[in-house]
């Protein structure tokens, strides 16, 4: 009886979340699938048009492949850079220093500030032609680089914003690093392994589950990235930062093509599923769990 009561109360506690999930996630999820087969302008009732949205997307939309391309490139630049940087910071914060918790808090701050408008303005001032970054470069007789003004650099500059928000990945890495048994380090030291060797042979293999987790999560985030490019570049110059989510947003809210945008979002969903499946499939070959030994 008490377990039934426990369950009853438990459900009551989570009911706000369930309500939120049903209203804000499941309902839009289902409806967007329906809308993807319609011509829907937001202001008029939707009209069924079959697969026309998908046909248009793959055969006639001249922005579609450009946007898909820059989104994939963005993912390939931003995710590895972010993970590498997060790991580096995690290793530094794993050192036994005084006030280390204070440092850990400070290093998490950029992730809280996130892609806010204030950060967008900061980024514009740092990276414009006469911005702070170029002034530093000029001191060593380099540049100026058009970080945001040139189609060669803009995507990379936006990736830096993502890298700068390394906090959540860093925390996960930090937890992973703490779990690496100290005796393994001692044994490696006794055997005369150098620092680099210890990192590649002991640390890295033992945190592969964390890399796996972070990789999936960050890949999903990267393919859906919106705020940074929206507030900083607006997709330009020359559509070089016109990420998938921006295109989707324009179609939905600027061009009144909510049906078409829904179709695009379902294709994005499929792409994310494929990438996630690929990473999952590949994981036995490169992740290592201490309690199971190597995956294969």
């Amino acid at each position: 009886m008490s377990s039934i009561k426990g369950r009853y109360i438990g459900l009551l506690y989570v009911s706000p979340w369930i309500a939120g999930f049903l209203v804000f996630q499941l309902y839009p999820f289902v409806m967007s699938f329906f809308y993807s087969f319609t011509d829907f302008s937001l202001l008029k009732p939707p009209r069924l048009i079959g697969l026309k949205n998908f046909v248009y997307m793959f055969t006639r939309d001249k922005d579609y492949y450009q946007s898909l391309k820059v989104t994939l490139i963005y993912g390939m630049i931003a995710v590895p850079m972010k993970l590498a940087f997060a790991l580096l910071v995690a290793m530094i914060l794993n050192l036994k220093l005084r006030y280390i918790n204070v440092f850990r808090t400070f290093y998490y701050l950029p992730s809280i500030l996130g892609g806010s408008v204030a950060i967008a303005i900061l980024w514009r001032f740092l990276f414009n032609r006469s911005g702070v970054v170029n002034e530093f470069l000029a001191m060593v007789h380099l540049g100026p680089v058009d970080w945001l003004g040139s189609d060669r650099w803009a995507l990379f500059t936006l990736s830096l914003l993502t890298v700068w928000q390394f906090g959540s990945s860093m925390v996960i890495f930090l937890a992973g690093l703490k779990q690496v048994p100290a005796d393994l380090y001692e044994a490696a030291k006794v055997d005369g392994a150098g620092r680099l060797r210890v990192f590649f042979k002991v640390t890295l293999p033992l945190i592969t589950p964390m890399i796996f987790f972070n990789l999936i999560l960050q890949m999903i985030y990267a393919l859906q990235e919106f705020t940074g490019p929206y507030v900083i570049t607006g997709g330009g110059p020359l559509k070089s930062t016109y990420l998938y989510a921006l295109m989707l947003y324009d179609n939905a809210f600027s061009f009144l093509k909510m049906g078409y945008a829904s179709a695009q979002s379902w294709v994005l969903f499929a792409i994310i599923i494929v990438f996630t499946a690929l990473i999952f499939k590949s994981s036995p070959y490169w992740t290592f769990y201490q309690d199971e030994g190597a995956g294969k």
């Binding site: 937001l42 414009n128 032609r129 020359l238 809210f253 009144l256």
Partner: protein, 439 residues
């Protein structure tokens, strides 16, 4: 047990839905009697000067009518339309909101039922001070008038008086596009690090539209969904843009693109006097005025020699619209009437929405010395050269993005003017065909 579980969830859901419904029903019940508390929302876009003045006007109104509370929702122009669309479709749009003339056709051709037809409101709102032809030219589709103009806008040149003088540029109301290039050369001679002119994204698009209309005599897409220009017109305009960059009359796009979404008041090189002239609309003057530490002057927008149509954009700065499904429609209507015509409102709002569209407001502000001469001069210089109302098809948001794209392609040297002309013709034809099929 299962039944109990489901029951719990259902009850919890009902509770949350009821809580929501409760919040929703608050305002309708409040309007039942005239003296009961009325809560309304009013949304607008603008800069700081406009925000402050509008908030002051709202609190003045609340002092006069203590039972009416108006919540202001304000922000930048760049994301206002998207927010408004979402609110309209979700049934959460404010009782009163601003609409830009560029959206009128898209909005009304989709579904006019969201907006009160202002043609039916002449007994409740005093429209005698408004030029109703002007209002209908820009705000009406098939007899449906989406809103009333708050200000009159004219396109023109705002310039830094000191810098223009130092560079020896003779800026006046008779400039052609060749004079712009000549000014560019003079500025280079005076200081190679400075530029005569710069554009942000919006005004680059306007420049393209205006110059194309001056060449061809028509808007880009005519009401019959054919193109209003020839390939030669497009090649010539794109070549002119290339020339602006190659001669250093305007900075390279690499330099200005990071600031393409903001106006002169937030462009560092305007504020530190590296750029001399900003082609813009009169309604933008107040925000530039309050940010610039140097005297400003204005001049008429350039007109092509032998132009087939002078082409200058003179349009409402914005229209004020009423939400047709507002539960507070009578109160909202009263507020709009006050906002347009009341002397206190006029004095409080000043010229923050450009030259007021209501004649009496213009006279009152002028008499009280509260109207920026530059705003008045810019509109008055533009009016005789007005290109008339823009065809609805050319106002489509996708058409605007197509223009922006090709300007960048030419500006960055990725396409020659000829390639861009061919590209834009193809894209605009496709878009026109799509609009025709939906009409």
């Amino acid at each position: 047990m299962k039944k109990a579980t489901i029951l719990t969830v259902v009850i919890a859901l009902c509770l949350s839905v009821m809580a929501y419904a409760n919040g929703q029903s608050e305002s309708p019940s409040a309007t039942n009697t005239a003296q009961k508390q009325v809560n309304m929302r009013f949304s607008w876009w603008g800069g700081d000067a406009r925000h402050k003045a509008t908030l002051a006007a709202i609190s003045l109104y609340s002092e006069k009518f203590p039972n009416v509370k108006i919540e202001g929702e304000y922000g930048q122009f760049s994301s206002f339309y998207q927010k408004l669309l979402t609110q309209l479709s979700g049934g959460t749009a404010p009782d009163i909101f601003q609409v830009d003339f560029k959206w009128v056709h898209d909005l009304l051709s989709q579904n006019p039922k969201w907006f009160v037809n202002m043609n039916t409101m002449s007994d409740k709102i005093d429209m005698s001070g408004l030029d109703m032809k002007f209002a209908r030219d820009w705000g009406e589709v098939n007899g449906y008038l989406i809103g009333l103009p708050l200000g009159m806008n004219g396109i023109g040149l705002v310039y830094n008086k000191d810098l223009v003088q130092k560079a020896g540029i003779d800026i006046n109301n008779n400039w052609t596009w060749d004079d712009v290039l000549a000014a560019g050369a003079k500025m280079k001679k005076y200081d190679p690090a400075k530029y005569a002119l710069f554009f942000n994204k919006d005004y680059f698009t306007y420049m393209f539209k205006v110059q194309m209309k001056q060449r061809s005599g028509y808007d880009l897409i005519k009401p019959d969904y054919t193109l209003g220009f020839s390939r030669e017109d497009a090649v010539a305009t794109f070549s002119y843009i290339r020339k602006l960059i190659d001669t250093g009359t305007i900075p390279p796009l690499e330099e200005t693109v990071p600031f393409e979404k903001v106006y002169a008041d937030q462009t560092p090189n305007w504020l530190n006097q590296k750029y001399a002239i900003f082609p813009t609309s009169s309604s933008i003057i107040p925000r530039i005025r309050s940010a610039s530490q140097f005297p400003l002057g204005v001049a008429r927008y350039p007109v092509l020699k032998d132009a087939k149509n002078p082409g200058l954009i003179t349009a409402p700065t914005m229209l004020i619209a009423l939400n047709a499904s507002s539960p507070n429609l009578p109160e909202a209507t009263k507020f709009v009437n006050w906002f347009l015509n009341d002397k206190d409102a006029i004095m409080t709002l000043g010229d923050t929405r450009g030259l007021p569209a209501v004649k009496k407001a213009r006279e009152d502000l002028l008499a009280a010395n509260k109207l920026d001469q530059n705003i008045k001069d810019m509109v008055e210089a533009a009016l005789p050269f007005s290109g008339g109302p823009e065809d609805a098809q050319t106002q489509n948001q996708e058409v605007v993005v197509i223009i922006e794209d090709y300007i960048q392609q030419v500006g960055y040297g990725k396409m020659t003017p000829a390639q861009a002309a061919d590209g834009i013709m193809k894209d605009l034809k496709d878009k026109a065909a799509e609009m025709k099929s939906q009409a």
